[in-house]
C-alpha cells in the first residue's frame, strides 16, 4: 500500500479577529499519498492557505488531527515541529521570501546549514540544485538582481535542499506572468515525476490546477470536490 504522507481528520480551524470568530476550515478530511501531485483550488478566503499552513506544521488546528507520515502533529513540541519542517517539508511561497542580503547559492544552502551539513557539501549540493532549476550561472547574484521567475526557481531549489518528502507551494505563480508561471509549474511537475516528491500546490488559478493530477476544491472552509484525473 502507498504511504499516506498527509492525513487530515475532522479538522476545524477558527480564527478569532477581536470578538468575531472566523471559521477558516470546517470539518476537513483529506488523505494525500506519497508521490501525488495535488492542487488545492479555491477563491481567496476559501481556507486554502490555512490548510497548507496546517499541513506544513506552521499552524495548529482548533479541532481534529493532522498527520504527516503517520505522526500526529499534536504530539510534537515546537522544537520537534521545526525539525519536521526541516527534514520532511519543503516550502515555496508566493512572494519567494529569499533572504535579500544572501546570494542565490547562500539562500539555497540555508536549510542544509540548519541541518548541520558541512560547508563543502552544502555548496556542492546547492550548486547542483541551482543546475536543476537552470540557474547555475546566477548562483552569486542577490535576489534583487534576479527576475521574479528566477527568484522563484531559487526558492524551489532551496525547498529541495534537504530532500523533503513533501513540497508545499503557496500560490507559486501568483507573482509571475503566465508564461513564467507555466515554466514554474513545468519545473514542479518534473520534480514530482523524477524525484517522486509529494507535491501540494495551493492556487486560485484553474490553469495551474489543471496541470496537477488531483484537484481539491475548497469553498468556505469545506472541500466541495476532490477530483483525480485519469492518466
Amino acid at each position: 500500500m502507498i504511504k499516506e504522507v498527509v492525513k487530515l481528520e475532522n479538522v476545524d480551524k477558527i480564527y478569532k479577529l477581536g470578538e468575531v470568530e472566523v471559521q477558516a476550515l470546517n470539518n476537513v478530511n483529506l488523505t494525500i499519498r506519497e508521490g501525488e501531485f495535488v492542487s488545492i483550488l479555491g477563491p481567496s478566503g476559501s481556507g486554502k492557505t490555512t490548510m497548507l499552513n496546517l499541513i506544513g506544521a506552521l499552524d495548529k488546528p482548533t479541532k481534529g488531527e493532522v498527520y504527516i507520515n503517520g505522526v500526529s502533529l499534536k504530539k510534537l513540541n515546537d522544537k520537534q515541529l521545526a525539525d519536521l519542517r526541516l527534514r520532511t517539508i519543503g516550502f515555496i511561497f508566493q512572494a519567494f521570501y529569499l533572504v535579500p542580503w544572501l546570494n542565490a547559492l547562500q539562500n539555497v544552502m540555508i536549510p542544509m546549514m540548519l541541518l548541520g551539513k558541512p560547508p563543502s557539501y552544502r555548496k556542492q549540493r546547492a550548486m547542483e540544485l541551482l543546475k536543476v532549476v537552470g540557474l547555475e550561472k546566477r548562483a552569486y547574484h542577490k535576489p534583487t538582481e534576479l527576475s521574479g521567475g528566477e527568484q522563484q526557481r531559487v526558492a524551489i531549489a532551496r525547498a529541495l535542499a534537504n530532500e523533503p518528502a513533501l513540497l508545499l507551494a503557496d500560490e507559486p505563480t501568483g507573482n509571475l506572468d503566465s508564461k513564467t508561471g507555466a515554466m514554474i509549474v513545468d519545473l514542479l511537475e518534473k520534480i514530482n515525476k523524477e524525484k517522486n516528491v509529494t507535491m501540494i500546490i495551493v492556487t486560485h488559478n484553474l490553469e495551474v490546477a489543471e496541470r496537477t493530477r488531483r484537484i481539491i476544491r475548497l469553498r468556505d472552509g469545506k472541500i466541495i470536490a476532490d477530483e483525480v484525473k485519469a492518466i
Binding site: A82, I89, Y97, P100, W101, L114, G116, P118
Partner: protein, 418 residues
Amino acid sequence: MIFSDYFGYAFTHIKNKKARVFLTVLGVALSVMAMVSIISITEGFGEAIQLALNAQFSTDTLVVVDPLGQTVLTLKDVDLLKSRLPSTNYKRVTPVLIFSAEVSRVGKAESVITLVAGASTNEIRYVWPILYVAEEGVLPQGDLNPDEVILGNSLAKRLNVHAGDMIRIRSEVKDLQGKVITTITRDLKVIGILKLSGMNLVGVDVDSSVIMNFDTSRMMVNPPDLRDKISLILVQFNSPKFALELQSEIQDNIYGGKVRAVAFAAYARAVENVVMLFNSLLLSLIIISVVIAGVGVMNTMLTSVRERVKEIGTNRALGAKSSEILTLFLVEAFIIAVLGMILGTILGFISVFVIDKSNLLQSAINLGGVIYIKASPKIVLQNLIIWNLIVLFATLAFSYIPARRASKVEPIIALRYE
C-alpha cells in the same frame, strides 16, 4: 546548526549592513574608549596620590600640639607620654621647637624672616626619611652639633648660601605674654642643604626653613625661666594603627582635652577618602557609558529584528528552531561588541596618550601642607580585561531582549506580514 555557522551567517549580515553596524560599533567603541581613559586616569591618579601620601605623611606618627594655648608643652610632657604610653607600641617620642627668626648670610645685608625648627635630627630623620636627603653637604647620622644647621633648599638659594657657609640667625626671646625680653644673634655653620621637597610639615615649609640643634633652639627663643618650653611632640608608633588608636587616648585621657593629638594617618585617610569618592564618581561614569552603549546596541537590534521579521519567519518555516534564532542574534551582538571593544581600546590608548602628553593630570591638593601631584594615566591590563568583559556582558544582556523577541517570531504571522 554548526557553531561556526552562527558566526558565518552573522558576519555575512554585518557585511551587508556596514553603515549601520559601523555606527553601532562606534557607539560601543566610544563607551569602551571612555572606560579605558577613565580607569587609566583613576589608576594613575590613585597611584600618584598614594606615592605622595607615603612620602609626606609618616602614617605611623602623630603630633601633639597645643593650638589654643591652654597649656604650655614642655620637656616634662615628653617624659609624661613616655611613661603613659605602652613602651611596646611606640618607637620614639621627640620634641620640636619652632620659632620665627631673621636669617642672613654672614657678611651680607639681605635677610629673610623664616621658621626655624629645633629638633633632634637623630629622631626626625626616622620620622621623615624621604625628606632627609642632602642636595649639598652631608647630613649628620646623629644629632646636629650646637653650632650647626641644615637649610631648606629655597632658603639656601634665596640667600645664596652653600654647605660650609656661615649664616646669622637673630631671634627674639619672649615671655609667656609675648613680650620681647631680649634678642639673641648667633652665627651657625651650614653643613647641609636639603633637596627641594615641596613639603609642608606640621606648619613648617621645609624648603624655606632652618633645622638646628634642639638645645641651641631652646637657648635662642625660650626665656630663662621657661627653658624647657617646646612647640610640639612627635610620637612615632610601630604601626599607623596604634597612631590612630592612641590619638584620643593622648588627647582626652592623658591631657583631658587640653591638647590636640593628630595622627598623620588620619590626614592620609582623609585624602584617601577623597580619592575614593573621586574613584566612585568615575566608576559611575563608566557604568553610565556602558549602559549607553548597551541601550544603543539594543536599539539597533530592535530595529534590525523588525526589519528582518520576514527573514526570521522564512527561516523558521524552513526549520530553524527558536533557540537557533536567539543564538544567531546574540552572536551578532557578540561580534558587534567585540569589534567595539577592539576599536574602543585602540581609541582609549590614543586618548590616554594624549592626556599623558598634555599634562592634564597635574594638580595640587592643599591639605594643611601642599601636595603636588603629577599623575600619569596608567593602563592596567587586568582592569582593562575585566571592564571589557563587563561591556561584553552588558551588550549581550541588552541584546537579549531583541534576540528573544526575534526568536518568538511566529512564521505564520511573519509571512503574512506585507
